[in-house]
């Protein structure tokens, strides 16, 4: 039992380390892209995309919007797991 708890704690710490590594890679990548953006000319398909760091800002806002809107959408289109199966009689899966 005690061993299990220790294993779980180690596992959680490993996952947290992965999380920090992921964050580190993302941040370093963004810093490199910022430097490139300052010194190199990047052009987009439309003029508005030529604005400083436009794709990055767009991606950040779009991601937040997708998650927040999705969360809001849960109120309208989320039902119990057996929403269909209790009427259609598909509970007795074999």
């Amino acid at each position: 039992m005690k061993n299990n708890d220790i294993n779980k704690k180690v596992e959680i710490m490993t996952l947290e380390r992965f999380g920090r590594a992921f964050t580190f890679v993302v941040v370093i990548g963004i810093v490199i892209l910022l430097v490139i953006e300052i010194f190199a000319h990047r052009h987009g398909e439309f003029a508005v995309e030529d604005m400083f760091f436009f794709p990055g800002i767009f991606g950040f806002i779009a991601f937040i919007f997708v998650v927040m809107a999705g969360t809001l959408l849960r109120r309208f289109i989320m039902r119990d797991e057996d929403y269909y199966s209790k009427r259609e009689g598909a509970n007795d899966d074999t």
Binding site: G29, I30, A40, E45, P55, A62, F63, M78, D80, D93
Partner: protein, 565 residues
Amino acid sequence: MIPDFGLPPGLLMIIGAGLIPFLPANLRHIWMLLAIACSATTLTAPYGDHVIWAVMGMELSLFHVDNLTFPFSLIFHIAAVLTVIYSWHVKSWAEQTAVLSYAGAAIAAVHAGDLISLFIWWEATAITSVFIILAADTVSARHAAMRYLIIQVSSGVLLIGGAALYFHEYGRITFESMTLGSVATWFIFIAFGIKAAFPFLNGWLQDAYPEASVTGTVALSAFTTKLAIYALARGFPGTELLIWIGAVMTAFPVFFAVIENDLRRVLSFSLNNQLGFMVVAIGIGTPLALNGAVAHAFVHIIYKSLLFMSVGTVMFHTGTAKASELGGLYKQMPFTMICCIIGAMSISAFPLFSGFVAKSLTMSALGGTEFILAYFVLLFASAGVLEHSGIKIPFFTFFAHPSDRIIGKTPNGMLIAMGIAAVMCIGIGVFPQLLYQILPYAKVKNPYDLSHVTGQLQLLLLAGLAFVVLMRTGLYPPEIKSTVLNSDWFYRRLAPSIISSVLAIIMPIVKAVDDLIISVAKTIMRGAKWVSEHPVSGPVIPGPAALVQVIVLVVIVAAIYANLG
């Protein structure tokens, strides 16, 4: 020089599938690969019509080859091989037969040079794929299979109706580029739209695909929808309406995928979103855009199969694909995790992965047109793709929570198929000319320029940063066991409710009318019996006999009168 089989390509696989039940289990997969190899020899066929059958005064072109058929036929053969290898451990002859005949029907459909042949193979894909879903052998799969069959057959009915009207209007049945306008072309367009999972016609996809077996879903993900993309690319290139339909397809499934708990259903929403990119490209209709649609379909089949295979392998071991029940498997399944991440990076269009070299074509084709709104919808959807397929799938499967599950040995076939697909995702990403040289239209330039690469990386990394921010602030929604309503709700819940309500009103009326008719009929019968038993004169004839004679006489007189009139 092509081997002269005298048969259309996919038909060889369908015939081969017919023999699978009679083969020993350990020979079936080798037999399937042989059948696919025989069919694949036809890939060397020169452009033209190679098999023409005269049926009821019409010439059916069953083996049409041109620059558009080749890439689709090639990738369908590759997908068939991947599916067979992935399912090497499966002993069920029923699923294997269905998979090989399904792949064969899809390949045959690609080579159909006329609308009637297309209809035949269109329906064949519908029927064979139903058996793949049924092979899962669960109650929910059986229900989903029946709903799927109705929708797919409806698509076929619209197609044959459209083909008949097209023949009536134009006097030919050649499967060629059409212009929307007549009833015929609308019928055909909607038929294609059902299989391409247009908005509100998409419910069958998320309903049925996740109900198939682990291996069955991999097969299903490859063929039907991409056959529809091929059909749209041949039948309706440059149809502006497709740009807006496609834009909606890219954006809407993203929101559903965020809150969906079943990861195979998340991938089905993701599939829908990816189809949107292809539909937009077909709507633009320029050579570059059509190349984009074909390239996207090609790479999508590989990385989507890879993602379904990864999640399928997890499901094979754990018995579930629910995000709320998974997590922490990175240690137990490292190879599957790496393959899943490669699939996720490909679909997210990271540079050096296959999705990037395909999506760049569509985005470039859309750039500089007047469809600026559609362009930014696609850009928005790209961030959404990263969310549901790039991050959600690998994160909730292999990380997220600690796991103490004991995982058994993964069958070699599963590992090999995932490995091949992963290598292809990177190979195409690193050497895009491998893909570009088989595209149907003008030459395509290398997508790796500074603007494309840094622009895409900015979008993806900042979206990744948004994920980090949401996780660290606790704003990222937790996975909840639930059902997410989709357009199938209209025919699974709304329509039955309306019909029940209407029947509840109508049935008492019908019963009352029924009772009235019965009582009137009884009264007439009693009256007639009384008359027959009490004749005015002459001998007594048994009542019913007299009545029958009178009725027959009346009918004969009425018929003669009507005929003379």
